[in-house]
Amino acid sequence: MPSSDADVVRAVKRGDAAAREEMVRRHLGRVHAACFGTLGRRGPVEDLVQETFLKALAAIDSLADPGRLGSWLHGIAVKGCLDWLKRKERTTRPFSAIAPGAATPDWPDPARGPDADEIDRREKLLDAVERLPAPYRETLLLFYFDDASYREIAATLGVSEAAVNARLTKARAMLRERLLPHAKP
């Protein structure tokens, strides 16, 4: 199994099917985070995740620096989502948005899972996450969706680790101010 991103990209360019799968597995979390962050949870997040990988696989030969696969995919994802949002303004309803259950999370069995109040609190928190300014939102989501380290997030977003730290701190502070458990009354 190829070890580095650069190895994966080179193998994908050679037509190696296993490497294509590896590329998807390795980067699904950050692409998912990017699409979720750009479209919000009610958008066609999963369609755009799929589209991102299909576009990337089709254009893999244009990736000049294979070591930057992560940030390249992130860029394709964000641009794809922004394009979709623009298209959405012009058109009425894209096919992907009416796919049944496309972006509906599987809430646990109500008998064992969170109660209605808890779900309501979580939905409000997610609303607040979606209203965060883009740089804070995407950093926060990479952290929580992808279990990415500060270093990995920094590489994906092309910023320093200190900036990642500052963004996460600020994002949490903004959320806290609005509605996290320790919000000041």
Binding site: E46, R121, T169, L180
Partner: protein
């Protein structure tokens, strides 16, 4: 480091992303500053709220990955010929596997028991039932009950249990599991999750059959979970190999791997991540074995080893707490060890849990911690004693964080070890 600087850095500190020097400076400050500790608690709670809110969306990951992989393979470059042939043959193989499985699983009429005992119910956290084929109903199965080949058993949504088979192997059932003992060392899993610890050196293979595939293990610990079909995903089995290896349809799955099994074959493999968390569902069963059990001690040690190390720490902490006061003694031994002294943050986490879960027999053992060099440890030990005795002896947290605690320690010693003390009994 002052409070402003510490509070600015608490996020990274919680995330395990502080530089080494910075981390110890923050820990040092926290030890003496209740306000910053409260701020850290708030950061932790906020983190837990965010993680919980995003968890259902994160949980889409497996289904999404399957979808993207399918799309990617359909849009991909032409595959080499052998691979394509394998795909054409796959449905035939699936069919064949299905016949084999059917023949195996349903050879004895489910619930009809015959022959000598092949397994015994060793431990149960609640109701375990055996199917009575004549009455067509489920009957409660008492601990110690023997099962012959053909017995069908199930756990309820609230119970878990462990069976010992005649060869020394152990099969644990998670809540909501439905298992048929097909024969000695042969089990069929119809629903839910089981864990098998397989005795080696036996001539017969150890097998767990599921409608999705048959798993064969030798000298292995493995976790097998059957997942019913959902709107977005087909029925499949997740096999986690904890030790040794297992074979599925001619393929070998090594320890530390998770395999997705469908149609009699391994469809996907992933590294298993943290095996302690992956098998955390067994904690209640392991806790029943008690603190002298080697597996119990190992599990607590494994959980302890993760305290203070990972950004998912709260998961490990929750598991330790879930194992109940049996965990207290191993925690105490860790806190008392010289090795723990170089890991101040982790040691404090351990004392914090200890203060919450220790039972009365350990009260006396908390005494030396009141004189610990770490102010946090002193304050936490005092908190634990207050919880255990319902008394504070007139001293508050600030007192225990101070340097001169001699009088307080002496008062506690008098109370706990005096002739009338109900807390004198030393721990086992």
């Amino acid at each position: 480091m002052n409070c402003t600087a510490v509070i600015e850095r608490l996020g990274a500190y919680r995330d395990g992303e502080s530089a080494a020097g910075e981390s110890s400076a923050i820990a040092e400050h926290l030890a003496g500053c209740a306000r910053c500790r409260a701020a850290l608690d708030a950061v932790r709670e906020d983190h837990a709220a965010l993680a919980a809110a995003l968890a259902p969306h994160r949980a889409r990951r497996d289904a999404l990955e399957a979808r993207v992989l399918r799309a990617a393979s359909e849009s991909g470059p032409p595959r080499p010929a052998p691979r394509r042939r394998a795909r054409l043959l796959a449905p035939l193989a699936t069919l064949a596997a299905g016949f084999l499985l059917g023949a195996f699983v349903f050879a004895p009429r489910t619930g009809d028991e015959s022959g000598p005992s092949v397994a015994r119910l060793a431990l149960a956290t609640g109701l375990v039932e055996r199917f009575d084929p004549d009455a067509g109903t489920w009957q409660a199965l008492p601990t110690g009950a023997a099962l012959a080949a053909g017995a069908r058993i199930r756990t309820t949504p609230a119970s878990k249990c462990s069976f010992e088979s005649a060869d020394g192997s152990e099969l644990r059932l998670d809540s909501g599991a439905d298992v048929t003992v097909a024969a000695e060392r042969r089990f069929a899993l119809a629903a839910g999750r089981v864990f098998a610890r397989v005795a080696s050196g036996h001539p017969k293979p150890f097998e767990i059959a599921t409608p999705e595939g048959r798993i064969e293990a030798v000298g292995t610990a493995l976790d097998v979970a059957r997942h019913a079909a959902t709107e977005s995903d087909a029925a499949h089995v997740r096999l986690t190999v904890v030790e040794g290896a297992a074979r599925v349809g001619g393929e070998t799955v090594e320890a530390g791997s998770i395999a997705r099994i469908e149609g009699g074959a391994v469809r996907r493999r992933d590294p298993a991540g943290d095996l302690v968390l992956a098998t955390g569902w067994m904690n209640e069963i392991v806790a029943l074995k008690g603190p002298d059990d080697a597996e119990f001690a190992r599990r607590v040690n494994d959980l302890l080893a993760q305290l203070g190390r990972t950004k998912m720490q709260f998961l490990y902490e929750a598991q330790i707490r879930a194992m109940g006061d049996h965990c207290a003694l191993p925690l105490l031994r860790y806190v008392q060890s010289d090795g723990s002294r170089v890991e101040a943050a982790r040691r404090r986490e351990a004392v914090k849990i200890l203060a919450d879960i220790a039972g009365p027999p350990l009260a006396v053992e908390l005494l030396p911690l009141l004189e610990d060099g770490d102010a946090d440890v002193r304050a936490l030990a005092a908190r634990g004693l207050e919880r255990l005795t319902g008394m504070s002896l007139g001293r508050d947290e600030a007192y225990w964080r101070g340097e001169d605690v001699g009088a307080g320690v002496s008062d506690w010693r008098t109370l706990l070890t005096g002739p009338e003390s109900p807390w004198k009994r030393p721990p086992r």
